[in-house]
């Protein structure tokens, strides 16, 4: 479904992604882990099109998307959530999701009808809010929601674009244990419905969700394997878990 081949990206003299290759199979949750500065966010930004790689290719559904525009990627079924909450704070939760629905409901050269009374948009938007458990908060301004709810709203907006592949950039960052496990439950329900590339710092989250894990160190793929294998891999322990333990 997603094939990343010999990807290279450097900032100034700093090599952020160093000849990275890996594949994501359809229908699974594929985790990407790695210590800080391993290039996780740089990777997701290239997949979603925010930045362009120096060399290498990205194939999505056999289409070369390496240099494709951000909005076209969305059109062919790629969606992402952001690490820093990136929603429209002065709109309600319902409006936020309706906007995302609208982006994939034909063109928006509609100048007359009130979009907030557009049932097609509103009903669908509510469905997605339900999927992330926010239906009771639909009419609150996004700015009034809690941090955890912001992240849930992000997921709802991404889902509303009806993606085949969902890129999640640390969906549990900055969350307490309770919010974090709620997010894990939401993501578990999505399993099997679409493919998810999950970039995550929290090991418990990754190991409880992912079917396969790629370990990123210094912009390189040091191993891609099943979670059990990753857990027992010596190289990973030294390069990543070891460091994590020292940090903790």
């Amino acid at each position: 479904m997603l094939i990343v081949d010999s990807l290279v990206k450097s900032f100034g003299g700093l090599l952020a992604i160093d000849n990275l290759s890996f594949q994501v199979k359809e229908g699974i949750i594929h985790g990407v882990i790695g210590p800080n500065g391993a290039g996780k966010t740089t990777l997701i930004n290239q997949l979603s099109g925010e930045i362009k790689p120096d060399s290498g290719t990205i194939l999505f559904d056999e289409i070369n998307i390496t240099c494709m525009n951000v909005h076209l990627r969305s059109a062919i079924g790629l969606a992402r959530s952001f690490q820093i909450t990136n929603i429209f704070l002065d709109l309600t939760a319902h409006d936020n999701v309706a906007l995302a629905v609208q982006a994939h409901a034909g063109h928006s050269f509609k100048f007359w009808k009130d979009a907030r009374k557009d049932h097609k948009l509103r009903i669908h938007a509510l469905e997605y809010l339900k999927q992330v458990g926010l239906e009771k908060r639909a009419d609150f301004l996004a700015g009034q929601l809690s941090h955890g709810e912001h992240r849930q709203l992000e997921i709802a907006m991404a889902l509303a674009t009806r993606p085949k592949l969902l890129l999640l950039d640390e969906p549990t960052a900055g969350m307490g244990p309770k919010e974090s496990s709620a997010m894990v439950e939401i993501l578990k329900k999505l399993k099997g419905k679409l493919t998810i590339l999950l970039i995550e710092h929290d090991m418990d989250v990754v190991f409880s969700l992912a079917d396969k894990i790629t370990v990123l160190v210094n912009g390189r793929n040091i191993i891609t394997d099943k979670p059990e294998a990753i857990r027992n891999n010596h190289e990973v322990k030294v390069a990543y878990l070891g460091e994590e333990n020292i940090d903790a």
Binding site: H71, S74, S108
Partner: protein, 312 residues
């Protein structure tokens, strides 16, 4: 609004036709400000060349009536033709300016729209056949068959008034439509809009063209109002005036531009009554508005209202 509808009647009663002309000018500038507010207030596009479309509309009338009188080509004096041509030319010009300048952001966008406006200004200055720098006097106004006689200031006033209402209602619909929601979303977070799949550029371009067209129509009215067109109509300071009106009234609000245009003309009238050098007061006022003002007059009213409610 209802008060505005009665202006010509009152002016006739107290025998001060000057008020009809002055308020007529307010209505026309309001339409211009409404059009700028669509892209500036709701879309976040700081266009510093909006007076160009005012100029295009004006010159269509000026050149049309010129040929109608000089060469006796009567269809060139037809108001409907003036409006049609003004709409087409404004749209094409906005398409040209917008397609290049919308590729840029922030301060580049401001400067480029300004520079393009200056380019059109020079075209008008260099156009010696139609008066060049000195401009062109209109010896007749746009003709609307026998239905509407614009040579009567009151008829012109009510045409302006009707169009103002039409465009107010249009912008009310527009900003709440799918298109409007999109444009407003792109103002607050363009990247996110791209990310959920909106091709933002083309929608912004269409908004830019719509705003240009409405302002072009205001230009048609303006030429009929002043009976005179000159390059000064599209001088960059006129674009600045439009920005001032939008900011003064309150950006991104429906009635803000109307309030702003009215306030602007009243201020001009009032300050120039105090001193001949009125801009020496008006200039620093703008600086203070930029430093302390937030939300323009509309915002001040809202804050006053809040303060009042807390006090109660």
């Amino acid at each position: 609004m209802l008060g505005l509808a009665a202006v010509p009647l009152i002016a006739d009663v107290i025998d001060e036709p000057f008020y009809t002309v002055m308020f007529s000018r307010m209505l026309i500038l309001s339409i211009g400000a409404i059009s700028l507010n669509l892209i500036l207030g709701f879309g976040g596009m700081v266009s510093f060349g909006h007076a160009v479309y005012m100029g295009i509309g004006s010159y269509v009338v000026g050149i049309g009536t010129f040929h109608a009188i000089e060469d006796g080509i009567s269809w060139m004096g037809n108001g409907l033709i003036h409006l049609t041509i003004a709409v087409v030319f404004s749209a094409l010009t906005a398409l040209f300016i917008g397609s290049i300048s919308l590729r840029t952001r922030g301060v580049y966008f401001i400067m480029i729209t300004l520079a393009f406006a200056q380019m059109f200004y020079f075209i008008a200055v260099g156009n010696d056949n139609y008066g060049g720098d000195d401009g062109l006097s209109l010896y007749t106004r746009s003709k609307f068959y026998n239905i509407l006689d614009l040579s009567n200031d009151n008829s012109l006033y009510y045409l302006n008034f009707t169009l103002l209402i039409v465009f107010l209602y249009f912008s009310h619909r527009l900003i709440n439509s799918r298109f409007g929601i999109l444009i407003r979303g792109a103002k607050s977070n363009e990247k996110r809009m791209e990310n959920i799949g909106f091709p933002v550029y083309r929608y912004r371009l269409v908004a830019f063209v719509i705003a240009g067209v409405i302002c072009g129509i205001a230009g048609v009215l303006s030429a009929n109002q002043t009976d005179f067109v000159s390059p000064a109509v599209m001088h960059w300071t006129r674009s600045g005036d439009l920005i001032i009106m939008v900011v003064l009234g309150g950006m991104g609000t429906l009635f803000g531009p109307v309030i702003g245009a009215v306030a602007f003309l009243f201020l001009e009238e009032f300050l120039s009554g105090i001193t001949e050098f009125w801009q020496i007061i008006f200039g620093p006022m703008l600086v203070l508005i930029a430093i302390f003002g937030n939300g323009g007059i509309d915002g001040i009213l809202v804050r006053l209202d809040k303060w009042w409610q807390i006090k109660k």
